[in-house]
């Protein structure tokens, strides 16, 4: 066990956990931030996507000891008023079916638009390819990202 001082969604948080604990489980079970989802545990499905210093990363295979001073943003902290353009576009296109993967999709999409405000179809496909949606909402995800890009 070891103590880690984390910056999560702009707040200082202290946890005392096994240093190998993936950030996913620290968020979900120690900080009660359950919007970040467990899907595969091996960084293959993207359901656990968070932002680390603004970049999309998979939290399920990222040990808490590797965070250092980097800031963590989760779906709960993506926008203070929960109205990030990507979240709004997701509602506008009524993207979700079961909804389980969507927080991860939104986090990947938000990071994409931060780095590339006007992505092409191909760039969207490349950026989003690591996020599985078992319900098959891929077309709406793509359309929502284009709407969010237009509204940002």
């Amino acid at each position: 066990m070891a103590v880690f001082n984390l910056n999560v969604n702009g707040k200082k948080q202290t946890v005392d956990v096994d240093p190998k604990t993936p950030v996913l489980w620290v968020l979900r079970e120690h900080l009660n931030l359950v919007g970040t989802k467990y899907g595969c545990g091996i960084a293959q499905c993207g359901a656990c996507t968070i932002h680390l210093d603004g970049n999309a990363v998979r939290s399920c295979a990222l040990p808490v000891s590797a965070i250092g001073n980097k800031t963590i943003t989760t779906i709960e902290g993506l926008a203070e008023k929960e109205d990030h353009p990507v979240q709004q576009a997701w509602i506008e296109h009524d993207v979700p079916q079961c909804g389980y993967c969507q927080a991860g999709q939104i986090m990947t999409a938000a990071a994409l638009l931060k780095n590339n405000p006007n992505p092409s179809n191909e760039q969207i496909e490349n950026a989003m390819n690591g996020n599985l949606c078992r319900c098959g909402t891929y077309l709406r995800i793509k359309a929502a990202i284009k709407t969010a890009a237009a509204n940002s």
Partner: protein, 749 residues
């Protein structure tokens, strides 16, 4: 005008006043309540009045509608309340939707599966809405001392035009709640619909996109422990001994034990599929601790012996055989090939098929196969349970709670009324969550620990557990006479451990001499419903064969199907054809028009397919191109006849999802076995369709009619397999018979 008798629908109108005070109900309400429109601030009323099981009206006119069925992504939590709201005649923006708990005394058929939610809920939900509206009208009539038939309603307001009186539903709710339910209730005419047929957004959308706790995986109570199960690494194995010395000493671990999932003398129902009879359980404080301790278990496994169990379900009592052995895909394929050469059980025979085949000038025969598939819902199997000496609280992802309730009562030794199943939003289901083994496992673990427990499967546990889509084969034969006329048709289906044939489906009914046969081979690999069971394979095989047959006969594939359907419509063969040939032809004609089927586009390869299942008709045209020697799906045009569409945009979403799912499984879906073990247990090896593989566009066209709504979650899925195969044939000049198709395509180079 439709008049319904409320007496035939009694349980929807029970008023269980104890409901409001039930502490357990309220303890879950933070997960269940939601507002459809976040921008509209709905002020909660001081007092609620319950008009029936589905509808509560607040003193300020706010309406709570209960969504009865479990939600796994087909959007019933929005569309079922829309039906209530329509007949109740309220403004959708004043509606709060709540997920009902499993409560069979109050709700009809709380089952999500078979694409039947809207079809079977249509009449009860309309009746419940109309009944509540009628009570409000009578309450106003009584209060105003005017005849009830002079009162009209609109958007939650009652009007008496002649006297100029009006009142909101909230003002009349207390009077209405005390009235007796009238015997005859008038439903709206279809042309009076204001909500049905308009697109309403997913009521849980705002919570989903902001990461609010909605799923079982997110659920937590004070003192809750985490449990995981180490299942055998292969089908055909069981636990011999467990050395837990190291695991037990690891931080946070509370207990490690072996438990039986069912009692030995328990007679199973149709949804009691449990792959392994025993479970080695690790319980601890956090998921990470339990995951690590599970890996530190040293378990010795041993082979199972042949066994049987009794199952009461699927139309009778049967003995299910569980053979010993460590099975492999290679062995499955050779066994299925041998099976298709042997006589099988005759499922349907019209005319003299054997005689016609003997006289044929030409016989065309093709064999199709498909592998086992894992459901791979994004939320791995999980369940919360808190079992005490005299009651049980279960919160879990389950499509068929009614069946799991029977199992829980028998296993826990508690009466059903002491077991409360809360219906969690599921992170996908696809049929797998109809089998509630995880609810029973969680309950058994909680009972053992005397503590609240959340059982979690890892992705590997989920993918390796079984309850798969079976592996199938089908051999099709067509007899042509010397004039190239189709004179006989034969399908022989096989599978492990069930065959895929729906004997009374098209083209049965369209051909004078017809034979359908099926047979199966026992296995210790468990299977379960997977989006459109059996149809999900047989549609692809049948529609690929019809495409090839049309070509052999020199006919356009759509025209050929239309000719057969015309025969089935005007002079049907046999008695039990389970489809309406005119509606079937209708979707083919619509897709022909919408896809501009007659026009060829350079370098675009098109395949068509059509199918009827779950009471709905679908035709699909898929367009693909070859880029960098790989097939890329550019567009799919779908025509659907599912009767009245309740929530059009959500219906399109689900149609798109079914098409994407089908293309993914047609291209990549496959689970193989070696020495009894699945060779893929996570998404690094099990290839799922991803953003880059998805079609670039999908167009969904609904046939406009006044038919009562039928299924939608499943019907678009089965035919797309053949649309893929038929388009690939056009692109590659070679027919595809074995799924997944891209495995064959890559092998070709």
């Amino acid at each position: 005008m439709t008049i319904v008798k409320t007496s035939i629908n009694r349980r929807s109108f029970l008023k269980v006043s104890a409901l409001a005070g039930g502490g357990m109900m309220l303890s879950f309400s933070w997960l269940a309540g939601c507002k459809p429109t976040p921008e509209e601030v709905v002020t909660l009323p001081k007092k609620w009045f319950e008009l029936n099981s589905y509808i509560k009206i607040g003193d300020n006119g706010v309406v709570t509608l209960m969504s009865p069925n479990p939600e796994f992504g087909s959007n019933v939590k929005t569309s079922m309340p829309m039906i209530l709201a329509e007949e109740l005649d309220v403004d959708w923006k004043n509606v709060i939707v709540e997920q009902a708990d499993f409560f069979p005394e109050r709700f009809e058929r709380q089952f999500t599966g078979g694409s039947q939610g809207i079809r079977q809920g249509w009449r009860p939900l309309r009746t419940a809405g109309a009944t509540a509206r009628t009570l409000l009208v009578h309450a106003a009539a009584q209060t105003w001392q005017v005849p009830a038939n002079e009162i009209t309603t609109e958007a939650g307001v009652l009007y008496h035009k002649t006297s100029g009186k009006k009142a909101g539903y909230g003002e009349m709710a207390s009077v209405a709640a005390a009235l007796t339910v009238p015997g005859d209730i008038k439903l709206k005419d279809i042309n009076e619909f204001k909500i049905i047929g308009t697109s309403k957004k997913n009521v849980d959308g705002p919570k989903i996109v902001t990461g609010k706790p909605l799923f079982t995986m997110d659920y937590k109570t004070d003192g809750m422990l985490i449990a995981m199960i180490q299942h055998p690494p292969a089908f055909g194995l069981k636990v011999k001994s467990v050395d837990d010395t190291e695991a037990r000493a690891m931080p946070g671990i509370r207990d490690i034990f072996i438990a039986k999932i069912l009692h030995d003398d328990y007679v199973r129902n149709g949804f009691d599929t449990t792959t392994f009879p025993e479970m080695a359980v690790v319980v601890g404080e956090t998921t990470w601790q339990v995951m690590n301790a599970k890996k530190a278990l040293k378990i010795e496994w041993e082979k199972i012996n042949d066994s049987t169990y009794t199952m009461r379900g699927w139309g009778g009592e049967q003995t299910v055989k569980v053979p010993a052995g460590l099975e492999s895909t290679r062995e499955h394929l050779s066994k299925m090939a041998a099976l298709s050469k042997k006589p099988a059980a005759v499922l349907r025979r019209d005319g003299d098929p054997e005689g016609a085949f003997n006289q044929a000038a030409r016989v065309i025969e093709r064999t199709y196969t498909a592998p086992f598939l894992a459901h791979n819902a994004m939320e791995p199997v999980c369940c919360y349970a808190h079992v005490t000496a005299d009651q049980a609280e279960i919160y879990g992802p389950v499509q068929a709670p009614e069946f799991t309730m029977q199992t829980l009562a028998a296993r826990l030794g508690l009466p059903k009324e002491k077991i409360h199943i809360k219906l969690a939003r599921m992170g996908g289901g696809f049929g797998q969550r109809a089998y509630g083994h995880h609810l029973v496992e969680a309950a058994v673990i909680s009972q053992h620990m005397n503590a609240p427990v959340k059982l979690m499967y890892t992705r590997e546990d989920d993918m390796a557990y079984g309850i798969y889509r079976p592996t199938y084969t089908a051999t099709y034969r067509a007899a042509l006479d010397k004039d190239n006329k189709l004179i006989a048709f034969h399908v022989k289906g096989g599978g492990i451990p069930e065959h895929p044939v729906h004997a009374n489906r098209f083209p049965a009914g369209a051909i004078d001499n017809y034979l359908a046969e099926g047979s199966a081979i026992d296995s210790n690999i468990t299977i379960g419903a997977f989006r459109a069971p059996r149809s999900n394979f047989i549609a692809g095989a049948e529609q690929s064969f019809l495409d090839e047959l049309a070509e052999e006969m020199g006919k356009d594939p759509i025209d050929f199907r239309l000719e057969l359907l015309e025969r089935a419509r005007t002079k049907p063969v046999g008695q039990n054809n389970d489809y309406d040939a005119a509606r079937y032809a209708g979707v083919l004609k619509l897709v022909k028009e919408k896809s501009n089927w007659g026009e060829s586009k350079p370098d675009v390869h098109r395949g068509v397919s059509a199918y009827f299942c779950h009471n709905s008709y679908v035709a699909e045209v898929l367009e693909l191109v070859i880029e960098n020697n790989k097939p890329v799906v550019k567009n799919v045009i779908a025509a659907v006849d599912c009767g009245i569409v309740v929530n059009p945009d959500a219906a399109i979403n689900m149609a798109e999802g079914a098409i994407v799912d089908g293309i993914g499984n047609a291209f990549f879906g496959e689970l193989t076995f070696k020495d009894g073990a699945p060779e893929k247990t996570n998404f690094d090896k099990y290839r799922m369709i991803r953003q880059k593989d998805a079609p670039k566009a999908i167009e969904v066209h609904f046939v406009q009619n006044d038919e009562a709504p039928t299924g939608l979650g499943e019907p678009l899925f089965p035919p797309i397999f053949a649309a893929v195969a038929n388009a690939l044939y056009k692109a590659r000049g070679k027919r595809f018979y074995q799924q997944p198709y891209l495995k064959e395509d890559i092998a070709l180079g």
